[in-house]
C-alpha cells in the first residue's frame, strides 16, 4: 500500500520511494522431492536420479552403510553434464569439506569403523537443462545407497 491508499487505487510507487519497504524474491516453481534406495553395481558410476529441466537445488543427501569400507566411493553431482564434485568420501574428510555451499557435495558422516557414510548436496546450485546425482562405486562392492533431493523446476 502506497501513501495510505489501497493498491487497487494507487499502485506501487517505486520511483517516488513512497513504500516503507519492498520485498523482492525470485520466482521459482513448486518444490519437488526425489527419494530412493538403490543396490548399486560395483566399480561403475550408478545413476540415482536424473532430471531434465531448468531449476535450482534446495538441498539433499546421499548415505549408505555397508559391511566393508566405501571410503573411495564418490557421490557425484552433475549439472548440465558437468561433474561438479569428483571427490571421494575419503578426500572430503581429508580436506575437511564439511560445510554446506563450500563445495557442491560435502561430507556429513564418515565412519570407517562401522562403515557409515553420508554426503550432503549443497543448496543454491542452478542448472539450465539437466541435473543428475550418481554414486561412483570404487571399492568392488554392491552397497545399498539411499538418497534424498529437494529442488525446484522453473
Amino acid at each position: 500500500m502506497a501513501a495510505g491508499l489501497p493498491d487497487y487505487i494507487r499502485g506501487m510507487d517505486v520511483i517516488l520511494q513512497a513504500l516503507a519497504e519492498l520485498i523482492v524474491r525470485p520466482k521459482y516453481g513448486t518444490a519437488l522431492l526425489e527419494s530412493g534406495t538403490l543396490g548399486v553395481t560395483a566399480n561403475i558410476d550408478n545413476t540415482l536420479v536424473e532430471v531434465a529441466g531448468k531449476g535450482m537445488i534446495y538441498g539433499g543427501a546421499v548415505w549408505l552403510d555397508d559391511t566393508n569400507s566405501q571410503a573411495n566411493g564418490e557421490v557425484r553431482l552433475w549439472a548440465d553434464d558437468v561433474d561438479l564434485s569428483p571427490l571421494s568420501f575419503l578426500r572430503l574428510i581429508d580436506y575437511g569439506i564439511n560445510k554446506p555451499r563450500t563445495w557442491p557435495v560435502t561430507i556429513n558422516v564418515y565412519n570407517n569403523v562401522d562403515f557409515i557414510y553420508s554426503a550432503g548436496i549443497s543448496y543454491g546450485i542452478t542448472f539450465e537443462s539437466k541435473l543428475k546425482i550418481s554414486y561412483d562405486e570404487n571399492n568392488g562392492r554392491t552397497p545399498t545407497v539411499h538418497y534424498r533431493l529437494v529442488y525446484t523446476l522453473i
Binding site: V49, V51, K54, S129, L153
Partner: protein, 70 residues
C-alpha cells in the same frame, strides 16, 4: 487447455526406474506431477502421447521448452 512441460524425472528406487513428468496447466502457479511409467525407455514421442491422452489435448497444446532435452 495449454500444458507446459517443466521437467522429466528419472529416478531409481528398489531396483526399478521410475519416469515422471512435471507440468504446468494453463500457466498455473503450482506444478503437477504424473507417472509416465516404470522401467521404460523415455522418448519425445512417448511423453507427448502420454500427456495428450492424460489431458485429452492435441500435441499442439503441449509446450515443450527447448532446454528440456532427452
Amino acid at each position: 487447455m495449454l500444458i507446459e512441460l517443466k521437467g522429466i524425472v528419472q529416478y531409481y528406487d528398489q531396483g526399478h526406474k521410475f519416469v515422471d513428468v512435471v507440468v504446468i496447466e494453463d500457466q498455473d502457479v503450482k506444478s503437477q506431477r504424473h507417472r509416465v511409467g516404470v522401467d521404460i525407455e523415455v522418448s519425445h514421442g512417448k511423453i507427448i502421447t502420454f500427456l495428450s491422452e492424460l489431458y485429452g489435448v492435441t500435441p499442439g497444446d503441449i509446450v515443450w521448452p527447448g532446454h528440456i532435452k532427452l
